[in-house]
């Protein structure tokens, strides 16, 4: 087959490309240029830097595959950045990785793969795709600490049929060992460089790009009483306890962030805890929905453990009832449903209650 591999310049996608080559496929490597510095060039710090693209290019050369940098700046700005800022201004906590995977990687790039005559798109995500005889399934990555299935929950049968996740069966240690065995220069490169400028230090991104998030404003309690002030909502996220600059007898947590009015709302731990949440924009990987009251495990944040819950249809979305109250359930984040190793699907948290 001919395979397009999305190469970020990190070790995971390097090994993904190498694995495809070793399996005898005809491979094309690409790096997406998602944004650029003020002079239009690739940035020199952060993600998608010149150095990252050069790493990817050197790996591609070592593997003997053609390599291109594709310009996805407009696409990224239109979908990921615009979505992030409008969601944030609406008082929500968006996850840019999900939008990027939905619109850019497994959206625009997947159609590009077909245009380039490729049969499949491979990425370096830690997750697995298998086929149970009737349907494709998305499974958590073998390396649970590195599992990235959360940001892939929106994929459907069509996408899963067209993608390959070659390192999903490997642990990070194995990925690095493989890179070292092949002499790839990314073998010892630091982790998590696959976070982009929005996802990486989103506070800095907000301060730079969104004046509303850098505006001083009041800190209020649940009753609306002003209890303090802040220098910009960018510094706060739901569930945060430190750095509030106000002191009470017992700890206070951020329970709401509204950039539009520059208001940060704080409350006690109880005010942060909810029994349920409403999830909208729900999709299921199999194409069919599970039964009413289905018992699932749900992840309400990228890097937190899944918790037991039941799913109930409501307003075209799903009411998720947690088996025990959860703290810091943030509207805008994805809720992803699991059963064992399998990702059932997920959606966006609309309201926590």
């Amino acid at each position: 087959m001919r395979i397009l591999v999305a190469m970020s310049g990190g070790v995971d996608s390097s090994v993904a490309a190498a694995t495809m080559v070793e399996r005898g496929h005809e491979v094309i490597g690409v790096t997406l240029k998602q944004w650029s510095g003020p002079d239009g060039r690739l940035p020199t710090a952060g993600c998608c830097t010149v150095a990252d693209a050069e790493d990817a290019r050197r790996v591609a050369a070592k593997l003997g595959i053609p390599y291109y940098v594709l310009d996805y700046r407009d696409r990224f700005a239109e979908s990921v950045v615009a979505h992030f800022t409008s969601e944030y201004l609406a008082g929500r906590t968006p996850n840019p990785c999900i939008e990027c995977n939905r619109r850019v990687r497994f959206g625009a790039l997947l159609s590009r793969a077909a245009e380039l005559g490729c049969d499949r798109l491979a990425t370096g995500h830690h997750a697995r795709v298998d086929h149970d005889g009737t349907r494709y399934r998305l499974l958590v990555g073998r390396d649970r600490d590195k599992d990235q299935s959360y940001v892939l929950h929106m994929l459907g049968q069509g996408e899963l049929a067209s993608i390959l996740l070659p390192i999903g069966e490997m642990t990070k240690t194995e990925v690095r060992a493989e890179a070292a065995r092949l002499g790839l220069r990314t073998a010892t490169k630091a982790d998590s460089q696959d976070l982009c400028f929005v996802a990486g230090d989103y506070r800095e991104f907000l301060r730079e790009r969104l004046p509303q998030a850098a505006r001083p404003g009041p800190i209020v309690d649940a009753t609306g009483t002003v209890v303090g002030s802040h220098r910009g909502t960018a510094d706060f996220t739901i569930g945060q306890r430190k750095g509030l600059g106000v002191s009470f007898g017992e700890p206070r947590y951020v329970v709401g962030v509204d950039a539009a009015t520059s208001t940060v709302t704080i409350g006690r731990r109880e005010e942060l805890a909810v029994e349920a949440c409403l999830v909208t924009g729900v999709s299921f990987i199999s194409g069919g929905a599970p039964e009413e009251g289905a018992e699932v495990a749900v992840k309400i944040r990228y890097r937190s453990a899944a918790v037991a819950a039941t799913l109930w249809t409501e307003n075209g979305g799903r009411r998720v009832r947690f088996s025990e109250a959860q703290l810091a359930v943030s509207p805008g984040q994805a809720a992803v449903f699991y059963r064992g190793d399998e990702v059932l699907g997920g959606g966006t948290i609309e309201e926590a209650a």
Binding site: K33, G40, L42, L70, D71, G117
Partner: protein, 379 residues
């Protein structure tokens, strides 16, 4: 492989390789020295200088400055006169200049030199009137390229130079003839300019060598400082083999010009006719609308991005390009097409095919077939 990117660079001509060989081997001396090996090297570059001066119409061989390429010559051609003496001379450039000129102008602007950028018509040509209108007392250098590297469009340089001097007789006119040199007669007199930039690797010489050729008596502030080679106008030990190779290639190119024009012209006609037959909605950016270099064909296929087309062609063993690529190789919105008022969506579809001295007329057929196959596949 079908190589259709001769404007990016072209294979070395055998004459250049042959001329260079001794200086890569036995005649390795540094031309700035008193012993015999030095004399042989010095003799080689001075002979090359005489020949290039004759070729490009310089009154005296010392009006030729050897540089590290087209980019450096452009830098020296603008910054040299503007920063010479006291004060900060102004520059006037066209909007479609090569980055080597645009970025130098921007740099001079940061140093306090007045910079003006003259707009172009929809084929990318500046008019003598617009250039003259931009020239004033502060203007030291006017720089308008002889032919554009993306589209191949030829600028009315002689008319522009005359109009600029009418506006200010003290002005110096520089032209970047890096692309034009491949297929047009190029010299100071014909173009009516004071300073002329050429680059070795575009005419079949080695990369990293170029020249700035001038009328007598022009004072230049160097951009590279050091041991004072090239009469202090460009320091650094000479690339002897490179200089010898460049001049041999330039002579070969001039000698070969008629044949080049015929073969390449035939290749391009066949390419454009056959592609039009196979893909009727193909749009040639310039077509018959303006004079253009015989080796350039610039076109787009509506609905197909240049990125996709070029990658597919690369996969099929056909090397072509778009006008502008950044350091990473990603295609960029071309400032040339933007200045020509091409909408961004159309500019993102534009592809450049450039033929060269190794092209046979039949390559035009193959090129059209290759593009048509990819387009057929995508539609």
């Amino acid at each position: 492989m079908l190589y259709l990117d001769h404007a990016a660079t072209t294979p070395m001509r055998p004459e250049a390789r042959e001329a260079m060989a001794p200086y890569l081997d036995a005649d390795f001396g540094n031309p700035s020295g008193l012993h015999a090996p030095s004399r042989r090297a010095k003799d080689a570059i001075e002979s090359a200088r005489e020949r290039l001066a004759a070729l490009l119409g310089a009154a005296h061989p010392l009006d030729v400055v050897f540089t590290g390429g087209g980019t450096e010559s452009d830098n020296l051609g603008l910054a040299g006169p503007c920063l010479a003496g006291s004060g900060r001379g102004g520059v006037v450039i066209s909007a479609v200049e090569h980055e080597a000129v645009i970025e130098t102008a921007r740099f001079l602007g940061r140093l306090g030199c007045p910079v003006r950028v003259v707009p172009v018509d929809r084929f990318g040509r500046a008019t003598p009137g617009d250039v003259a209108a931009a020239v004033d007392e502060s203007t030291r250098v006017v720089s308008v390229m002889a032919a554009n590297n993306e589209t191949g469009v030829i600028q009315p340089v002689a008319e522009i130079a005359a109009a600029a001097r009418e506006a200010n007789p003290a002005v110096l006119v520089h032209t970047d003839a890096v692309q034009a040199m491949v297929s047009l007669p190029v010299n100071l007199g014909l173009l009516g300019v004071d300073l002329l930039t050429v680059a070795s690797h575009k005419v079949g010489g080695p990369k990293g060598v170029g020249a700035l050729v001038m009328r007598p008596g022009i004072e230049l502030e160097p951009v590279i400082h050091g041991g004072g080679q090239e009469l202090g106008r460009r320091s650094g030990t000479h690339d002897v083999a490179g200089i010898v190779g460049m001049v041999a290639a330039a002579e070969a190119a001039v000698f070969d010009r008629d044949r080049f024009g015929r073969d390449v012209g035939e290749a391009r006609s066949r390419f454009e006719a056959k592609l039009t037959a196979a893909v009727p909605d193909v749009v040639f950016t310039i077509g018959a609308g303006a004079d253009r270099l015989v080796q350039h064909s610039h076109f787009r296929v509506p609905g197909i991005s240049a990125e996709t087309l070029l990658i597919r062609l690369d996969g099929a063993g056909v090397a072509a390009s778009a006008g502008s690529a950044c350091q990473s190789g990603a295609l960029e919105m071309s400032h040339v097409l933007a200045a020509m008022d091409l909408p961004a969506e159309e500019a993102a579809e534009c592809v450049r095919i450039t033929f060269g001295w190794t092209t046979s007329p039949h390559d035009g057929d193959s090129a059209a077939a290759a593009v048509a196959t990819v387009v057929g596949d995508l539609r």
